[in-house]
Amino acid sequence: MSAAELARDGPTLHGPELAARLERSWSRDPGLLGWLATVDHKEIGRRYLVTAFVFLALAGVLALAMRVQLARPDQNIIGAARYNEIFTMHGTTMMFLFAVPVMDAVAIYLIPLMLGTRATSFARLNAFSYYVYLAGGMLLWIAFVLNVGPDVGWFAYVPLSGPEYGVGKRADIWAQMVTFTEVAALSVAVVLTATILKQRAPGMSLDRMPLFAWAILVTSLMVIFSMPSVALASGMLLSDRLVGTQFYNPTENGDALLWQHLFWFFGHPEVYIIFLPAVGFVSEITATFCRRPVFAYPVMVMAVVAIGLLAFGLWVHHMFATGLPRVGYSFYTAASMAVAIPTGIQIFCWITTMWLGRPRFDVPFLYVVAFIVTFVIGGLTGVMVASVPLDLQLHDSYFIVAHFHYVLIGGAVFPLLGAITYWYPKVTGRLMSERLGKLSFWLLFGSFQLTFFPMHLSGMLGMPRRVYTYPAGLGLELPNFLSSIGAFIVALAFVLFIANVFLSLRRGAIAGPNPWKAGGLEWATSSPPPPYNFAHVPSVGSATPLWDGPLKWMSGLRVDEKEMLLTTVVSARPDLREPVPEPSIWPFISALALTVMFVSSIFSPWAVLFGLVPLGVALIAWFWPKQLEPTAEPVIE
């Protein structure tokens, strides 16, 4: 068969007939095996999202347990040791199993749609990453249920987590959970970087790329350059604990501060890895609900890039209390304050957009407003603790707990809930209930302030973080009681939000392709999108193509094989036609083999060696190309 006879979309093949044939090439087998073998980014993104929310719920329940214990002074509902485990599990789960993966989830689902392509790059790696993430989360939580959950805090400082004080397997579980989540996050970062650089629709040059895609590109690069640090640190911790190396042991000239440097070299960028995707959500939502592109697009892009770069110069501000050289103090204080500048500029751009536009206060936009208010407060307390004398007072107090929940919940969770409400119709085909949405929004916004604002006060009154109780008579009763009441209302608000998600699956108004009249390509396909996303290749001439009149298309991709278009990195000119991998069970099996290897290595270092064999076999099977098809194209030079 010659190249010309192969079936391609175009003037003679479009509409329902094309859809039916594409559906046949792109759909996967039904049943469990098909489910495990899928490489569809939309399915994988949905799984990531659901899993991340399950972990949010679990960590949320632990937060409630802590608030019950702290509601009144001198209580002993949860003992000191159990409390250590609970705050460790809460923090670890929130950071590693909820906040980072949930942002990945949204990006995996949306980025190919926003770029107008049919799949992500390295679709099997994407599937693999999900199973690795799931395994890491299960390791942590099964260990917790079996009473070997970690109890060393979410940053597991040595020597507490080292071989001398961290007896038993608790710290090993923590460190190995980190390995799992790093493998997953790094894989996703590679997938997203390549997708964004190589798969944008023709015409979508870098300066026409949605701001969300910019945010995800910078985030992914930050993952690539920061996560190896924590992987290395936790690998060294494991080897100190399991094979007797001396990295962190001061008596053999190791150093506990090495851990802190390596951890925070990752840990500070981590905050922005969580925050930047949220910046992307806010930009997309603001544009749509103000009915105009975000003000000063190039400035927004530069601010995102600047944050990404600056974030690598800040890690030492987590170590002000460790006694560093003087110059170090001044430098890192200045750098920490400097990062407020690009963030401030962004906030200014959003507010200008609102000022110039005609904002529509639907639920997604309400979350944007709540984000701005809350994040500004959290940012201000952040600038406060960037100054060393104040930090030495407030370090390890509830003031810090208040600060980072303002930043994390205000800066990431509010935009996330807005984003879910905004893109829900794309994923499900129906809109969420506006009334229930408003109710849960106001409840959440109010109760959030009630929970976390008083923590500033208890912190300034001297309440240290990570204590399971406090004595009466120091003025700590009232703020703590308010925080506890607030926490339960926060939980109620979340329950309402989730109820809305489920109820609207059946009852929501039918959305159609573009219910918000937005400008991005993800709204150019049906809701929910077909497995192949777009029947033809969209071609764009601006950052908001759907606002420019009817969309133009390109034709000529294969119909009976899964194929997508690669474009050039800067100007997005059509360059190559690239096959998309078929579904495969091997990424799942590879993840399984990796899990066996990682988990058993906690018990014997030899497991690494023996574990490599099944892993190697699975990887080879994964990468071995499928049988040559009789329709394979002749080589075109």
Partner: protein, 205 residues
């Protein structure tokens, strides 16, 4: 039937394989190289951080590693760039017989390197449990060995693949070319580690 959408262009004539930054594989390899280079850089950072705590390097009374195995290893890995470049060029010219031959040469070199690496571990004159110095040089050598091993396995699989009918597919030549690129990364990262393991302990006070 819906009306046909407006088509600006037909993409049927767009090619299906290319080398270098045009191909997706290249970007994947570059991204993984960035991840691993960061890992090496941080491990090297840890080496200097720990070195700053010592009065002498290696700390008294330990001796620096013996030179023989490491230096043989270094010589061979640098020389391996010759067949590596030839393999890359052969792939880019779609010269299947040459690619087949050169991949086998690379696989043999990889095996010899792994054996030499075994002797290197044996000539460090310190165990990883002895002190932080021992831990960090074992770490560097171990990290680098994982790269040698990974690329060796990759080369074996690729060599096998090229001896099947799959080898005639254009995309396999891209894979070969990117495998050569990765090997460059592996030997280039070795050079600073060689200095840190074998020479800095001889030069430092």
């Amino acid at each position: 039937m819906s009306d046909a959408p407006t088509f600006e262009r037909d993409l049927a004539d767009v090619p299906t394989s290319a080398f270098g930054s045009r191909s997706l594989t290249w970007w994947g390899v570059i991204a993984f190289m960035a991840i691993e280079a960061t890992g090496f850089a941080l491990a090297i950072g840890a080496y200097f951080f720990l070195m700053a705590h010592e009065h002498s390097w290696p700390p008294e009374p330990w001796l620096p590693p013996d030179l023989l195995a490491g230096t043989l290893f270094t010589t061979l890995i640098v020389l391996s760039e010759v067949p590596n470049t030839l393999a890359k060029h052969a792939a880019e010219k779609h010269d299947l017989p040459a690619v087949r031959r050169l991949l086998i040469v690379m696989a043999v070199i990889g095996a010899v390197l792994l054996v030499l690496r075994g002797f290197e571990f044996n000539s460090l004159n310190v165990r990883w449990t002895d002190n932080a110095y021992g831990s960090v040089i074992w770490l560097l050598l171990f990290l680098h060995t994982t790269h040698i091993a990974t690329d060796w396995a990759d080369t074996l699989v690729l060599a096998a693949l090229m001896h099947t009918r799959e080898g005639e597919e254009a995309r396999r030549f891209t894979d070969t070319s990117e495998n050569s690129l990765y090997w460059r990364f592996v030997w280039l990262t070795w050079l600073p580690i060689y200095l840190l393991l074998y020479w800095l302990p001889r030069w430092a006070p």
